[in-house]
Structures are given as structure tokens and as C-alpha cells.
Symmetry: C2
Subunit: 229 residues, 2 copies
């Protein structure tokens, strides 16, 4: 496996599927391409990997440039490398997904050169390159991960109600869940901290607010416990 010059013909990028949750729907952050190919198409935010940069750093950098966020959930999903996936040359891309709380996304970042917007998942039908496929792969990963690991919280504000959490799970899994069973299950995990605090100014019985206990959450994660919803 010698590193000969003939092999430096391939470029290397990352693409980031940034999930957010708002008004009970699941969204992802897209940029509108300003250049050809696929000019004016919506696309996943991404960039080439710098030659002196660890691979995992590239999606962090992209995320921070776009949203101002650091230290959020971000995981590698898969690598896409068909020879014809980029019309301008050979570009292999590593897909990542991240989970962010939309409210925390710095709006200043939107003054970025490219047009930037949250899109509801159900309304995305075409994207540049093979980004549809990449997006669907990441969604699939999110779906299966959310059922067995407590990562849903990453998409919510610090304090949330159980109904908000349930709406989120329903949006991700794309199916309705039983309220009583959902609550029993999620509370039995012991990763929710009762804040003894309530919603205010709602035209119905105010809901209790919960926060999630990052310490117990880490324990649960490392124990690979199972959580079927």
C-alpha cells in the first residue's frame, strides 16, 4: 500500500445532515448552491476536507460556520463514492448527521454567502448531487438510533414537556405513539429530571417541565440499554 502519485486524483469532502425540530416537525438545514453544477438547487452543507485536518473535524467546522454551534451531537454515517456522483470530477464524500436545537442556532450565521434555510423533511423532493440518497441514509440511521439510544433530547430545548418529547419521537419515527405507554417507558429510564416547574400562559392545564440528566444519560448510553418505542 504505497502512496503513489497516480492516486492523488480524488477529492475528499464531508456532507452534514443537520436535523432540527420545530413546531412538531422534523427539519434539516440546507444551503442553496450559488455555483454550477446544480446552481440554485438546495444541497446539504459540506466542504472539502483540509489536507492537514482530521476527518472528524471537517463536519464540526462546517456546522460551526453555519450555525455557530459547537459540542452538539454529531456522528458519522456512511461514505459515498460512486465515480459519477459529482459531475466535475471524482469526489468521495463522508456523510455525518447532527442533532441541534433550532432555537440555539445563531441567526447571524444566516448572513452567510449562501442562502440557508430549514426545510421540513416531508417537503424535500430533490437535492443537488446524490444528496437525496445521503439524506435518506442519515434519516434511516437517526430512526434506528433514536429507538435504542436516548439521543432525542439533543433536538429539544433544555426544559421540555413530555408531550414535546413524544411529538419529537412521533416525527422521527413517523408513527403515533400511545401517550401512557410512552410516559411510563421514558420515565422508567431514569434519565429525566423533574424540574418541579410548569409551563406558563397556556390555555390548558400547564405541563410539568423536565430536563435531562446528562450524567445518567451517559450511563445509559454506555450500558447500551435498550429502549423500544
Amino acid at each position: 500500500m504505497s502512496v503513489g502519485n497516480t492516486f492523488f486524483k480524488t477529492a475528499f469532502s464531508v456532507d452534514n445532515v443537520i436535523f432540527g425540530f420545530d413546531n412538531s416537525s422534523l427539519k434539516i438545514l440546507l444551503i442553496k448552491r450559488a455555483e454550477r453544477p446544480f446552481k440554485d438547487y438546495w444541497a446539504l452543507p459540506g466542504d472539502l476536507v483540509f489536507p492537514d485536518e482530521d476527518l472528524d473535524n471537517a463536519p464540526k467546522r462546517v456546522l460551526k460556520e453555519l450555525t455557530g454551534l459547537e459540542n452538539v451531537f454529531l456522528e458519522q454515517v456512511a461514505t459515498f463514492g460512486k465515480t459519477d456522483r459529482h459531475p466535475k470530477g471524482r469526489v468521495i464524500t463522508v456523510a455525518y448527521y447532527s442533532l441541534v436545537n433550532i432555537a440555539n442556532v445563531n441567526p447571524k450565521a444566516h448572513s452567510f454567502a449562501n442562502e440557508l434555510a430549514w426545510h421540513e423533511l416531508s417537503e424535500i423532493h430533490t437535492l443537488a448531487f446524490d444528496h437525496m440518497l445521503i439524506m435518506q441514509t442519515c434519516l434511516q440511521t437517526l430512526k434506528s438510533k433514536v429507538r435504542t439510544q436516548p439521543i432525542g433530547f439533543e433536538l429539544l430545548p433544555q426544559k421540555f414537556t413530555l408531550s414535546e418529547l413524544q411529538d419529537l419521537y412521533e416525527a422521527v419515527l413517523g408513527k403515533p405513539l400511545d401517550k401512557r405507554n410512552f410516559r411510563k417507558k421514558i420515565l422508567s429510564l431514569g434519565v429525566l429530571l423533574d424540574q418541579e416547574e410548569y409551563q406558563q400562559g397556556v390555555a390548558h392545564r400547564p405541563a410539568k417541565l423536565f430536563q435531562f440528566d446528562r450524567h445518567r444519560y451517559e450511563e445509559a448510553k454506555s450500558m447500551g440499554y435498550t429502549f423500544e418505542v
Copy 2:
């Protein structure tokens, strides 16, 4: 995302963790490196990706060169891209794993330039580069996949006994399983075809041979059914 020349400094490889199962132990196929760096270390078989080759083709090519096998189970696992993972330069590598029946591996392939051998998993303690990490990541993926998808069969000969299948599961999962529960579970999936045929020449009651029903297996796979052992 323009494909500028400054970015063609990175080389691109695949590495393949080839699992086999033999004498009730799980093994992987390693090559002994003939060149520096890591001369005389055991390493995962891999190669650079050709500039005009689909990424997924590269591990197929590596597998075929080494074993003579085609059309076996092969899946992408993850991509490793720390800047310092290869002492000679920047090499990003995509890890794949495959499941093969050791008996089918063409012994002629062993006349390959490099020394080639099956190693028991429990006896592998050091490998070249970051291949230990890659191997462990693939093993982890195999473990979790084998619990929920019927991929174990890929490691066995066409006809096998239920005890052989159980031995395999025990080797992969690293823990003993209850015989009666295992049989109930596996038969209830309906992916095993009773061959009405028995072992011969064994010094005990001969076991029934099963074959697995690829058709039903595909159905089960696509239905994402769950199978906890």
C-alpha cells in the same frame, strides 16, 4: 465546493475485515506486510481505491484477489481519517467487513505475494496502523447486526446443523446461549429449510441438516424484523 488542486494531497484506501468461522471459533483473514512501514506486522487486507473505480468495488476486488470469492456478504462500516493514521502521508480509509465460509476460500489464492493467514480473534493483539481499532469497530458492528438480522448463515457451509449455528452465534456474541430457547427462536423465523437429511459418521445421534431459505431470508431482512438472542 470546487475541486481545486490543493486538495489532491490525500490518498484513499479501503480495508476489509474478512470474518470466517471454523472449529467453533471466529477468525479473520490477515496479511503480513512485506514492506515498511510496519514491515512484518499483520494487517488488514486493503488497497488504494482506483481513480476510476466506484468505492464499493474496491473491497470486492480486494476480497476476490485474496480469496477467489465473489457475491458474498460485504458491508461498509466506517471511515477512518485521522491525519496521523498513516506515517507516510495522509491516507483516509473506508472499512468494510465481509462474512465468508472458510471452506470456500480458494487455497491457491494463498500463493499471493504476501503471507496470508486466518487468525483467531482472541489471539490478535497488535496490528499495523490503526487496524486494531478498525477491526474492533467491525466486530462491534457484526455483533449488533447478528442479533437483529439473519446474517450469521453467511459464515456457514450450505448445509449445517442447529448446533453449528448456535456455536457460531456464541462465538460472535461471546456468550453462551440456551439450546432450547435458541432453537425455538431460530426456527420460528421460518428462514431455515429442513433438508430431511442427517449428519453421517458421527459418534453420536446424527443431527438434522438445514439450509437457509434465501427467499424468506430476504423478506425477513427487508421487513426489518427483530431477533434477539
